[in-house]
């Protein structure tokens, strides 16, 4: 029999009254003769902004907004009698649904036995022995699974096209070239549960008639590569890869190919070129890879997260899978929530969960509690920002597109009032400019020119015509770029213009950056009344921009100043003004 244990945590933004309640609970318990009760003040309960929260471990009951006066009732009714107190129960709590991450943090990723013992490879068995490739694809269609790499193309359709294409050999490629800044869902899956991806690839291979697969993993993921390689070796060792899998007539080989770190190689045709040993640049489609892909053979390319879903679909059934999510977006989505959020980490939610729940309930809201959250960015450099006023939007492919962003691969970056949106969009655009393959003119030159304009604006040299130019270049890039990288590169800029145009205007007209991020717009001056002439700023200035003497006082030469803020930081008398 487990000892009664209560976890306690004050989840409010300010103050901590958990200690009083802890004492009270223990006191009441002793009075009622319960000697072995433990009340543990924990670091985190996964509940936020709901006053003092309790978790009664043995009963798996969670109470929120608990007052000192509730202690009596809790001990009597719940601990002694085992009955929940309705008024205190946690309600409407956003929950994670772990399908993709079902094994992450549970199994040992280097043990195939761990994976198999949690129904691993059972779906391969089911597909190979109980189903035809056609019924496998039919089941995928019923599940409604769509590609998790960003675009959301129905997975079954991709498979069906490749199945229908003629080829003496066909290929399955796992796209593990995760490159969005701040996104690491795929890495975590590969590192935490590599067999789930391998299993998905075997099923995909069976469905389309491929006997060879490649896992295209970026070289910057050494641990993922190591674990996937170990998993592949183990699968071969057990006859789950190679000839006659599980004693069936189906054979499938799998090997790793390393990506050299070009973001554009996440694009299907560029990825194929990279595996073929060519320069990783996109090619026009058609022909689509499902028709003529790797070495001109029919090829499907599925993202890691997509593949990790597949075994579950066959294990629990497509009908079950289709109950999760929204009408057009089925299943779950893993997000890597980062930025100005209390709990950065991986979150897997059912499609349709509102953004607000992800950001506030699951991730604990703002990192700095008193700050105001202003937006989240989804879809990485191809996505856009979603302002706080739209946080009630359910997360699904369709809804995010409506807001001018995209689902993307799952990066979610939270921004608060200390972030400058012009600066953020400049960051993303710079990423795309750096990662442009250079093949097509609109992206190659358009991105560069647009970035130059943003540099100008954030340096306080922008004009209103620049906004027109940005929109013009954006239109050119969106309409005339060959691949999605160029077509979507203006998205962060366009979405910030859509929701936060006033910030751009502030930079242009008032030469002001609200968040103080655009350092070139800052001006440091010495306030003579406060200055004690200690010369600390003078000695600390890295460019000798501060001059003067004890008689006349000191001044900052604005021409020389590089806005590093060193003087502001070192001054002990608040005599440096930052504006």
């Amino acid at each position: 029999m487990e000892k009664p244990i209560i976890f306690i945590k004050d989840t409010s933004l300010t103050g901590d009254s958990s200690r009083e309640i802890q004492t009270q609970l223990l006191k009441v318990a002793r009075e009622k003769g319960i000697e072995d009760l433990q009340v543990i003040r924990v670091a985190d309960l996964g509940i936020y902004d709901k006053g003092v929260a309790l978790k009664i471990c043995s009963l798996d009951i969670i109470y929120v907004n608990v007052k000192l006066s509730d202690a009596e009732k809790i001990i009597q009714t719940t601990i002694k009698e085992g009955t929940p107190i309705e008024d205190l129960l946690l309600e409407n709590q956003a929950m994670q649904t772990r399908i993709v991450l079902r094994n992450c943090g549970i199994v040992d990723p280097e043990s195939i036995d761990d994976y198999i013992s949690r129904s691993g490879y059972a779906s391969v068995g089911k597909c190979l022995f109980d189903m035809t490739p056609e019924t496998v694809i039919e089941e995928m269609k019923k599940s409604g699974l769509r590609g998790r790499g960003g675009a959301g193309f129905p997975t079954w359709m991709k498979w069906n096209l490749a199945r229908g294409s003629f080829g003496d050999e066909k290929y399955v490629i796992c796209n593990a070239d995760e490159g969005d800044p701040g996104a690491y869902m795929d890495r975590s899956v590969l590192e935490g549960d590599p067999h789930s991806v391998i299993e998905g690839m075997i099923i995909a291979g069976y469905a389309i008639g491929a006997s060879k697969g490649f896992a295209y993993i970026r070289a910057e993921y050494p641990l993922a590569i190591e674990r996937v390689q170990k998993a592949i070796d183990q699968a071969y060792e057990k006859g789950l890869l190679g000839k006659d899998i599980l004693g069936s007539k189906f054979s499938f080989d799998l090997e790793i190919r390393l990506g050299a770190g070009a973001f554009v190689c996440g694009e299907e045709t560029a990825l194929i070129a990279s595996i073929e040993g060519k320069r990783g640049t996109p090619k026009p489609r058609p022909p689509y890879p499902s028709d003529r892909g790797l070495w001109d053979k029919p090829t499907i390319i599925n993202n890691v997260e997509t593949l990790a879903n597949i075994a579950v679909i066959f294990q629990k059934g497509a009908e079950w899978f289709a109950t999760i999510g929204t009408d057009k977006s089925k299943g779950t989505k893993v997000f890597a929530v980062t930025g100005k959020v209390k709990n950065s980490g991986l979150v897997e939610i059912a499609m349709g969960t509102p953004l607000r729940d992800i950001v506030f309930q699951i991730s604990g809201g703002c990192f700095v509690p008193e700050n105001k959250m202003i937006a989240v960015q989804t879809g990485g450099p191809s996505g856009g920002v979603i302002p706080e006023k739209n946080f009630d939007t359910p997360v699904s492919y369709e809804h995010l597109i409506e807001l001018g962003s995209i689902m993307g691969s799952g990066g979610m970056i939270v921004m608060d009032e200390d972030d400058c949106l012009v600066d953020i969009s400049k960051f993303y655009l710079k990423f795309c400019v750096d990662e442009s393959c250079g093949k097509c003119a609109p992206c190659r030159i358009g991105g560069y020119q647009m970035l130059a304009i943003l540099e100008k604006i954030t340096a306080g040299k922008g004009t209103l015509e620049d906004i027109t130019s940005i929109k013009r270049i954006a239109q050119g890039m969106q309409k005339a770029s060959l691949c999605a990288l160029g077509q979507t590169a203006p998205n962060p800029v366009m979405s910030t213009l859509r929701y936060f145009e006033s910030e751009y205007l502030d930079h242009i007209e008032k030469k002001k950056c609200r968040a103080g991020k655009c350092t070139k717009l800052l001006k440091f001056t010495i306030v003579p009344e406060k200055c004690k002439k200690c010369r600390l700023c003078v000695t600390n200035c890295p460019v000798n921009a501060i001059s003067g003497d004890r008689e006349k006082g000191y001044t900052i030469d604005q021409e020389k100043c590089i806005k590093c803020g060193r003087c502001f930081d070192v001054c002990k008398f608040e005599a440096i003004a930052r504006a």
Partner: protein
Amino acid sequence: MISAKINGITVSVPEGTTILDAAKKVNVKIPTLCKHPDLPATASCGICIVKVKGSNKMLRACCTPIEQNMEIITHDAEIVDVRRTVIELILSKHPNECLTCGRNGNCELQTLAADFGIRRDAFPNCVPDLKSDISTGTIVLDPRKCISCGRCVTVCQDVQNVWALSFLERGFDTRISPAGDINLGESPCVRCGQCSAHCPTGAIVENCEAPVVWQALQDPEKYCVVQIAPAVRVAIGEAFGFEPGANLTGKIYAALRRMGFNAIFDTNFGADLTIVEEATEFVTRFTTAPDKLPLITSCCPSWVDFMEKFHSDMKDIFSTCKSPQAMVGALTKTYYAQKKRLDPKKMFLVSIMPCTAKKYEIRRSKDMFASGVQDIDISLTTRELARMIKQAGIDFVNLPDEEPDYILGEYTGAGTIFGVTGGVMEAALRTAYDYVTGGKLSHVEFENVRGFSGVKEGTVQVGPHTVKVAVAHGLKNVEYVLNKVKEAKMTGKELPYHFIEVMACPGGCVGGGGQPYGVTDELRAARAEGLYDEDSRCVIRYSHENPHIKQLYSEFLGTPNGEKSHHLLHTHYIARPEYQR
């Protein structure tokens, strides 16, 4: 057949036709900067975008195959606006040096900018500071003018299989360069100039040497001689508004004479001479040294360079004959000089070639100094000559025809077809037939070596012998032929061929890298037709029957493949590294 609607007009085209090509059928011209009719689409410029009903994206017309019942809009305000933006962006990264550019007046980017009425720099100029590469001495690569369309890379890698040019760096810094950022002179470049012939802008042009020629022409001390190659005569007219393929030999002679050349010769004479030497070489090997078969032609300098770099194991079966250009060169400064009592040192020989590699050939080894001095001083391309004629104020269109000078100017029909793929083979077979059988062909045309398929194979009955021949053009097609030879040699099987002709450029010299711009297969065919037509109208169609050739041997050379011939008209090959460092 697939039918679709372009701007409301119904069009019916075979399956697989692109929107761009289908539009041409209904007289709709979709602009493009990167698609060359000769090459597969690189889809890089983003200008040929069109709208397709049902798609919210704009699609590239150059690489999107038309589908049944597609409804396409090629021009509306939005499309034109996007195109204009893209052009403006491209212009922002292109130097404003039109007036001093080698492509002034025939630049595709310039034309597009003019058509779109671009009147201002919409975006700040961001031309990178990069240096020109003139290391080959034949072509000039100015990476600043490059718009990264990829045509040169495609032609260098996929058509010519040379892989001298590739894209380096990425994103905004993308540029064309040999791998490893070495210069072209140190790269595997074979100087075929196909990159320059396909470049839409002035990023790759021939190394223009006209000023040196002008200087020589003005020098009273210099005795200036010129020769023109077969393929020049049927292409230069394109620069003056003639129909492609118009044979303008007489006008070219007249123009050169007006420009001040003292003697005007024809490389076709050299071609006839080459045939006599090469046919003799072939017959000798065929009858006495079968281990030195197949004989492989050597008149194309890019092919020679390619062989020396990539297939030097073949160097012993190569024909040792110099090219017609080099033969005329050696004879001008020996035979002709002696006849005219001229000092070879004071002679200045210019050759007009359809080719950029000829600029390299004239200095490729010490064999090119057979006369004691450099045999040929300058080699100009057809494009350079066209410009010189214009500079000289010659009304080329209305010039009367003139004749070449005695003695290196007379030629036969066999000499003139050297300018087209299969021509050397055909000319050689005519003479070889005579040499072996002592008889005449009833039908001198060898149809199976004509035409533009990449590799042409056939057999020819020469008396009791069956001669197996192959003709390849476009260097990528060489591999197929050579692999068959190598395999046979390795396994000791019967040789697949006895005689192989190779021309580096697709179509042979008519499609040479120094020819007027805008080459397509139709244009190559028209130029080839111009040559075949001249051949068919010639009275003499056997090289060895050229009376001046006969005179040359009796007066000067002695016998074909004789000692003097070997000294003046033959050369040696060495293995060269693909990369010079």
